[in-house]
Subunit: 633 residues, 2 copies
């Protein structure tokens, strides 16, 4: 029998079942204060003594009896006979009730003259000023921060009783290998359980990761029994879908109760929750972003309902840089990159599916699209929860367009100027659209050099020619990539692999075929499209195809042969008004540095003759070089 | 010679000197990825292999040759002869180029029938879909987050080269004792260096705390030499003012160069920075909040300028619940508590001076008042940088008024409902003002019981009687506190200690004196005012005074004698409209629980007869009891 579908429940229902089915484990542990940041107070912390315990001087000066100073003035100075020299923090001897700052005294032999009467209590810190013995320092539930620890140390508190929880994490899957082992084809590192341990460990949970269990129901049951016995909460990774080797749900049912399996949430649909011996067992989906959803939207809220610190959530309002669609009836969580252009925060959604972990790495936030919403138009304002320091947003340049390794090298260099580059790889056209919509700081474009440019019509449609300047990053060699050094005339005889229409490689290919009078339908694989030159090279190295078009650098990094026949200009298109932005100035200056030039030379595949030259685009001369001296940055 | 003043430089100048005087140490270290959260990437991280390396199935189903499925339809199903059963993540064998979901197949013997043609590449994850070999995973300068670690593990990365820095921290001061030792009178725990270690350690800095050095220039110099030798950055705590035992500046000058000493910043004025053997030496002021300023505004920005992760700064716009003043010419940093009342965020500044660490513990943020600003009116909108999860703000009830330990017990209990109480101790009057200005959820009031109430005129002026309900928390016994059981008639014979006018104790005292026909000027110490009953009890236990007025509970907790002669009602005044708020409902319900009643009984000093009873205040009957049943929460 083929298991066809999971029956899905709503996210709200699943969370409500989860929170009502499990009460907090009453586990606590003693934690030395220096290790208590991020921990939650289980037993209220009270001051063991008053601070200060006795009156102290609040200033460097002299302690006096205020009544001895009555009448002191500029014209009638007083030199108290009884006084004590005190520094800040010294005890004010019981016979004195005021302190006069040293700056307000004049030395008079071994005494001090004063010219203004002291008020009773002046510059004296009364006993208990900071805190009084027995008063509450930290209530139950308080999340400890670094500066709280200073206060606790002052009040003589050396350790706190903190909430504690033990979490057992079981990786299952015959395709898994441990971290540190090179996965073979079809194998993957057990990264979801590693991520779970790090993510949940930040709450102070003591996470124990079990050895990898292969897809065997008996072995899974054995691991699950052990994990439930030793822990308050068990996470079992993968085996949660409805395939022939997905045993997790069955094993949970056999040992306890399956509360739900399948939630209308994306990514993360196959998430499941069971109850074994009264303890929660969360089944993580196998896809990394789905596992993240399960950890962030299920495991973390369960811990939060138990009184642990939630992962901090920093909401910001952003406008969507591009439309995003969502399946009606599904709560969707979409990684988003947030950046500031002028006064607006813009969010670029990453919609590359649940396996693309690079999306979370590149994103600095995520948005929740409720089940009742089918998506949002570009420009819609919505809430994004940040996953980074909001301050970093102000230091980030957003580049949209075609990604080339030359940009990665630039991203590494700009960090030394305190800046970040966020680059979205969406192609030239998307880059130009973003530029025209003011949703990026610059568009990274890969433009066929010289004679081909006029045929690259999408460009002309999307830029305001008078308002845009082009900064040349590098000239990139382009040609045929293959294992055996194939030539243009060989293309009709082998399995070709193509890139998407309007991509630079595709334009280069079409121009080549046109020049040689070759009919595209004669090329075997012309209609098989992959994204970008790296995918082409990868497919050829893997033997899925014999030839394609890519850049010299990429061909070299994949160890393939390369026959050049064209070149591209890799350029930044920048709105003229942006040139006033010091971050853009830094970026352009950096492109021109010998350091960056040297890095490009080393990388190979770049022709760096005119690199760093700024070019203007005008109506008449599509790409006119501008003498380097005329642009002042 | 008396050193009179530090010559102060501006904060901007000091920071600019600091950042331009020191270049980043080029120290890096290998960090296993599981320990890398919060660390900053020093060497860019590239993918060691493509993920996936070969085409994988994106679904559970069958892998087929797409050309074998051409023409399949409901009416003309096809049963491909060549296929492979694949689960999600399995390798798609090279001879196949598409996957059909198991849900779209029908079992036909040992084969599968399909009713729709498969497109080439359908449900196949191409090689390199997530990342391609050699591509950038994390650029230099990237701050590692938990989910980044999942991605790194997937890409086979086991450790990163992270930026590293060694910080030496020297506590100086003959008054210091180590954590764990009970300080004697005038002694303090070396809490500032502990705080420095925890705060700076969060950036990944390796902090070494040196043994306590007493106020001896030779010993300080010796410690400083050792610390500079072994570290990239040295922090020396205290000895930074201008008192007779402040040697730090002199020692720094003798070993190197003093770049500045004294900055127009509050708290933190005596902060200093030196340069010894090219390394920065930051002198922390001794007052805890001043030390915090030096750590947060000097040490952290220096580390940030060196490329370390800044302490996250989460800015919110808030309205000031009360005016705050600031010295012109000084950059001031004021702890603020931020809470939400209705749709507005309100910030209550804590202005209790640089020694009161409880202010930072209670605050959830701080604001920076620039040097050119003399302060802000109540109601001004300004920016506050949060020190907690913004989510916790939504779960916090703000109570303003008179603090009694009964409220601390309540604060501990509400945590179990997921709520926080933030209580500002500012007195009845401030509580009523906050209530009338909508800057608190409820005012905590200590009201002289029954007959005295009509004389408590400040109350009547500040509440809208029809819109306010009173929830009785407890009746608190009030009387004379002393070491020897003094009676009312003894008050003119001993040293009395008073509380501030309009405070409940003061009103009780004035009523008592009035009833006994005693002239207040006859009471020795009538004009010596301290804040609240705890300060009174503390002063009496310390021998600074002989008698005062306080509550039974506080007298007991200080081990003092108590002669009751009045009682107070401790009540929450709540705007009627707030009763719809589920958090307020939870709070009121909690006040009435047997658990809370039992806690009050155990604490002692409370008369809990009518506790939890809601009362209405109307124009005619100032405090009319309302039958418990008529209020529905």
């Amino acid at each position: 029998m083929v298991k066809r579908y999971l029956s899905l429940c709503s996210l709200d229902h699943a969370l409500s079942v989860m929170k009502s089915s499990f009460s907090a484990p009453q586990r606590t542990e003693q934690v030395p204060i220096m290790e208590s940041v991020g921990r939650v107070v289980a037993t209220p912390v009270y001051a063991g003594y008053s601070v200060p315990e006795v009156p102290l001087s609040a200033m460097d000066g002299i302690a006096v009896r205020s009544r001895d100073t009555v009448g002191a003035s500029e014209t009638a100075p007083v030199t108290p006979g009884s006084f004590a020299r005190v520094n800040t923090g010294n005890i004010v001897p019981p016979e004195f009730d005021a302190v006069i700052m040293i700056e307000d005294t004049w030395e008079a032999g071994d005494r001090f003259q004063i010219r203004k009467a002291a008020a009773p209590g002046q510059h004296v810190r009364p006993a208990g000023e900071d805190i009084r013995e027995g008063r509450l320092v930290l209530p139950r539930g308080h999340l400890v921060r670094a500066f709280d620890i200073g206060a606790m140390a002052t009040y003589g508190i050396t350790r706190i009783e903190a909430r504690a929880v033990r979490i057992g994490i079981i990786p299952t899957g015959s395709e898994l290998v441990a971290l540190g082992i090179r996965p073979g084809p079809g194998q993957v590192v057990e990264s979801n359980t590693i991520m779970a341990q790090v993510f949940l460990g930040a709450t102070g949970a003591k996470c124990t990761r079990f050895p990898i269990v292969c897809d065997d129901p008996g072995l899974i049951a054995e691991a699950l029994r052990a994990a439930v016995k030793e822990n308050d909460f068990v996470i079992i990774s993968a085996g949660s879908s409805a395939g022939t080797r997905d045993f997790t749900a069955g094993v949970i049912s056999s040992l306890g109760e399956l509360l739900f399996h399948g939630v209308a949430v994306k990514p993360g649909k196959p998430v499941m929750l069971g109850k074994i011996q009264g303890k929660p067992v969360l089944g993580l989906p196998g896809y990394p972003l789905a596992a993240q959803t399960a950890l962030r939207e299920f495991a973390a809220p369960l811990l939060e309902s138990w009184g642990f610190a939630p992962a901090p959530k920093y909401p910001v309002r952003v406008r969507l840089a591009q439309a995003v669609t969502s399946d009606l009836g599904f709560d969707e969580f979409v990684p988003v990159f947030v950046g500031r252009i002028g006064t607006s925060l813009w969010g670029t959604p990453f919609v590359r599916g649940p396996v693309v972990q690079t999306a979370t790495v590149k994103a600095n936030g995520y948005t929740h699209i409720p089940a009742a919403v089918e998506g949002y138009e570009a420009g819609t304002e919505l809430e994004v929860l940040l996953t980074t320091d909001p301050g970093s947003i102000e230091r980030t340049l957003i580049l949209t367009g075609t990604l080339d390794p030359a940009l990665e090298d630039l991203a590494n260099l700009v960090h030394d100027k305190g800046l970040f580059i966020h680059a979205s790889s969406m192609g030239n056209l998307a880059g130009l659209l973003a530029l025209s919509r003011h949703t990026c700081h610059a568009a990274a474009l890969s433009l066929p050099a010289g004679p081909l440019l006029r045929e690259y019509t999408p460009l002309a449609r999307h830029i305001s020619v008078d308002d845009t300047i082009f900064v040349h990053i590098a000239t990139i060699g382009h040609g045929i990539v293959s294992r055996d050094g194939l030539l243009p005339e060989d293309l009709t005889k082998v399995r070709f692999i193509n890139t998407k229409s309007e991509s630079p490689s595709r334009i280069v290919l079409d121009a080549l075929l046109n020049a040689r009078g070759i009919d595209a339908t004669q090329v075997n694989g012309y209609s098989t499209e992959v994204s970008g030159p790296g995918a082409v090279a990868g497919a050829i190295r893997n033997g899925s195809a014999d030839a394609g078009i890519c850049t010299a650098g990429i061909a070299g990094s994949y160890g393939l042969q390369f026959v050049p026949f064209a070149s591209e200009d890799y350029e930044l298109a920048i709105r003229r008004e942006m040139l006033a932005d010091p971050r853009i100035m830094s970026l352009i200056a950096l492109i021109r540095t010998p350091d960056y030039r040297a890095i490009l030379e080393t990388s190979g595949g770049y022709i760096s003759d005119t690199t760093g030259m700024a070019r203007y685009l005008s109506k008449d001369t599509v790409l006119t070089e501008c003498p380097a001296g005329t642009m002042q940055f």
